[in-house]
């Protein structure tokens, strides 16, 4: 098992090195310092900034520095350009909790609901229940995310309880603390769940339907297993393999996936920090956040492989 993990880690090293090179290259297409100082900067100002942020050093040196920062998880010496005196380490520490406060519950809720609906749909495959659910899923998928966000905010945060002067959900903003969670975070969580439902339900149903056509299902039936046993024991354990992959590949998006929601609802999570950094051309923040994100993505890929091996006995040995 350990050699397996180690092999996966080694395999992903070149991928990560590539991401960093790509990222740094892309961010230097337009000179970041000119971006900050305007089109015709004073040469002395330019040089001063270049030196201060280490951008005068060769690409390779900067590359090693960024890689070192990510590997040691130490971002305390990376200074933000637009938030005076703020370092990326602090920004990361502050923004990670609000991000997770939305994405973790959203992922759990989506997965549970989507898998349940998929099972119901697969159970009644070809019948009206299934057909209705699938039509809803396709129509739901065809509406823009932004429309859900706009109407979600309008109906639940703006209209709901307005008659009685009550407010159940915040129009936007964020306060830390568990007691504040439902007020600020529940609505974004629900919207994000609703948006993901269409895709996930269809995917999980397809997985279930695929499994339901397998020979071992007929064997189980011929053995005298009940329909529920077949569904929840035989099929679900096999279906776990694609399900886990699906969930795992969305894991890294937990950190930045709700960027749109964070921006719209003014929640100071990582997505919004990155968005603002891109808007304000806060070069070091963009570079570091994306680098961290890619690292998380790769780690979760490795974790997926490991989980795979745990669920599927066939993978373990090969």
């Amino acid at each position: 098992m350990w050699t397996f993990i180690l092999r996966r880690l080694l395999y992903n090293v070149p991928v990560y090195l590539g991401i960093l090179a790509l990222l740094m290259g892309a961010l230097r297409v337009n000179d970041p310092i000119s971006g900050k100082l305007g089109k015709n900067p004073d040469p002395s100002d330019y040089l001063a900034l270049e030196q201060r942020y280490g951008l005068d050093q060769p690409f390779a040196v900067q590359y090693v520095k960024l890689l070192g920062d990510v590997v040691t998880l130490d971002f305390t010496d990376v200074e933000s350009w637009t938030n005076d005196g703020l370092f990326v380490g602090e920004m990361l520490a502050e923004s990670i909790v609000p991000s997770l406060a939305i994405t973790v519950p959203a992922l759990c809720l989506t997965s549970v609901l989507a898998i349940s609906i998929a099972i119901i749909s697969a159970f009644f495959r070809g019948r009206p229940v299934d057909k209705t659910l699938m039509v809803l899923a396709v129509v739901g998928m065809s509406v823009s995310f932004l429309v859900y966000v706009i109407f979600g905010q309008y109906w639940f945060a703006y209209l709901l309880g307005r008659g009685s002067g009550l407010s159940y959900f915040a129009i936007g903003g964020y306060e830390s603390g568990l007691a504040n969670w439902p007020y600020y975070c529940l609505l974004p969580v629900l919207i994000s769940t609703f948006v993901a439902m269409g895709y996930d339900t269809r995917f999980y149903r397809a997985v279930m339907v695929e499994e339901s056509g397998r020979d071992y299902i007929t064997t189980a039936k011929a053995k005298g297993a009940t329909k529920t046993k077949i569904m929840f024991v035989h099929m679900l354990k096999n279906a776990m393999i694609p399900i886990i992959t699906r969930i795992m590949t969305t894991l890294p998006f937990l950190v930045m996936g709700s960027l749109l929601l964070e921006v719209y609802f003014n929640i100071p999570g990582m997505g919004r920090v990155l968005y603002k950094a891109i808007q304000e051309q806060d070069f070091p923040v963009v570079q570091t956040f994306v680098a961290i994100f890619a690292a998380l993505f790769i780690l979760s890929n490795i974790l997926t492989d490991v989980l795979y091996a745990l669920v599927d006995p066939r993978v373990r040995l090969s």
Binding site: L27, S144, Y154, M256, L259, Y275, Q281, V290
Partner: protein, 401 residues
């Protein structure tokens, strides 16, 4: 054998009634887009100028909606105010003639006639109306409102009969059909124009992505070895950054450059993140095809490797290209909305994303027609593509998850 399979797939596709309907829908959208494109070339200033035209007051609902008394008063006042503003200038006659709301204009009267027949009576009624706090259900006030509209709005039109009553042109009725946005622009015209933008973005980015993906994927799958390692490394790398972040980084990388304000940064961003999925799928398929007898036979006969790849292998991934094209088309249209919201998308032109993004402030005031129109236009197209790609998968790839 492979050709036979393809034909069977096509036959199956044409038997699927939903698929045929969605193909017609997509065809209709393409026609509209083509019409706008051609119209843009052959009309002066382009159809684009039409989308920026103020055709009336702000936030007028569509033709089917019954307006509240307040909204009617607001609209009448809007016209009256514009007329009054023109009369205050040094050359009222010229100013009156220049007044235009779409193709609507005032009757060609002398300024004093406009003064006496429109402005003075309208002012009188307005003053009388100002005494009424409540309009709704107030019979007297509603009668006044009717008269005000008679005096002001009934005079405004593309052509006028002898007494100056308006004959609204077909063009103007069409423009007003789905109401106006916050800046008094026609929602319908903007939504139709946006069809061109959407199709343009969808076709260009999906086509380029599928081409890049297919060529790289086929090369990786067919040649294997170093080529495969490089391609797999490349797509692992690109797919490790979520597309939204990749799009943002790329869009901001283009900012300030020569291409800023054009669609090129959008295309570039989409293509760079979209080529991955066709590449992956085609690579897998080509690895399978490579083992098939006819491909083996072709190479045994001594055909060149490149020839086999382009003549025998790639054509057999055509169904995957179609499926991916339609999936990526949807992806591009939907991503455009998000990019527009983030301020990185389409500029200088209306698009559904721009419209939805504009509409978010209107929704809080209860003006749904802009977001509604843009959403309906988009949903129908996306739904058609979704249905088509499902049907394509059913027809060509029944084992697809």
């Amino acid at each position: 054998m492979a050709k036979f399979m393809q034909q069977r797939g096509v036959k199956k596709l044409l038997k699927d009634r939903l698929a045929v309907v969605s193909m017609w829908v997509i065809g209709a959208y393409l026609l509209v887009a083509l019409g706008v494109l051609v119209g843009n070339l052959f009309t002066e200033g382009g159809l684009k100028s039409e989308t920026e035209l103020r055709i009336g007051p702000d936030n007028v609902p569509g033709a089917w909606a019954t307006q509240s008394a307040e909204a009617r008063l607001r609209d009448a006042t809007f016209y009256l105010d514009s007329i009054k503003k023109a009369s205050r200038g040094s050359d009222p006659a010229a100013a009156y003639a220049a007044l235009e709301w779409g193709s609507d204009r005032l009757p060609a009267w002398k300024p004093d006639r406009i003064e006496s027949e429109i402005i003075e009576p309208a002012d009188e009624i307005s003053t009388a109306l100002a005494d009424h706090r409540e309009l709704e259900g107030n019979v007297e006030a509603l009668a006044l409102l009717d008269r005000l509209e008679q005096v002001v709005r009934a005079r405004i039109g593309a052509s006028h009969d002898e007494s100056g009553n308006a004959q609204r042109s077909a063009g103007q009725s069409f423009r007003m059909l789905l109401g106006t946005d916050r800046q008094g622009r026609s929602i319908l015209v903007r939504a139709i124009y946006s069809t061109k933008v959407a199709v343009q973005i969808g076709v260009v980015s999906a086509l380029i992505s599928v081409l890049i993906g297919t060529i790289l994927g086929a090369a990786a799958g067919y040649f294997g070895g170093v080529v495969d390692v490089i391609v797999v490394w490349l797509y692992s790398t690109f797919s490790s950054i979520p597309w939204i972040v990749l799009l943002m980084v790329l869009a901001s990388a283009f900012r300030g450059g020569d291409w800023d304000g054009t669609l090129i940064p959008v295309y570039a961003a989409f293509c760079l993140s979209f080529w991955i999925s066709p590449c992956r799928v085609v690579r897998g398929e080509v690895m399978k095809l490579k083992e098939l007898e006819y491909v083996q036979a072709a190479s045994a006969i001594g055909f060149g490797r490149a020839r086999i790849l382009f003549k025998h292998v790639i054509p057999n991934t055509a169904h995957l290209m179609f499926i991916n094209f339609s999936l990526l088309f949807i992806g591009a249209i939907k991503a455009e909305v998000i990019l527009s919201f983030l301020g990185l998308g389409v500029k200088n032109e209306p698009s559904w994303g721009v419209m939805i993004n504009h509409a978010k402030a209107e929704v809080l005031n209860g003006f749904f027609w802009q977001i509604g129109t843009a959403t309906v236009f988009m949903v129908i197209l996306v739904l058609a593509f979704n249905t088509l790609s499902d049907a394509l998968q059913d027809a060509f790839d029944p084992k697809h998850v």
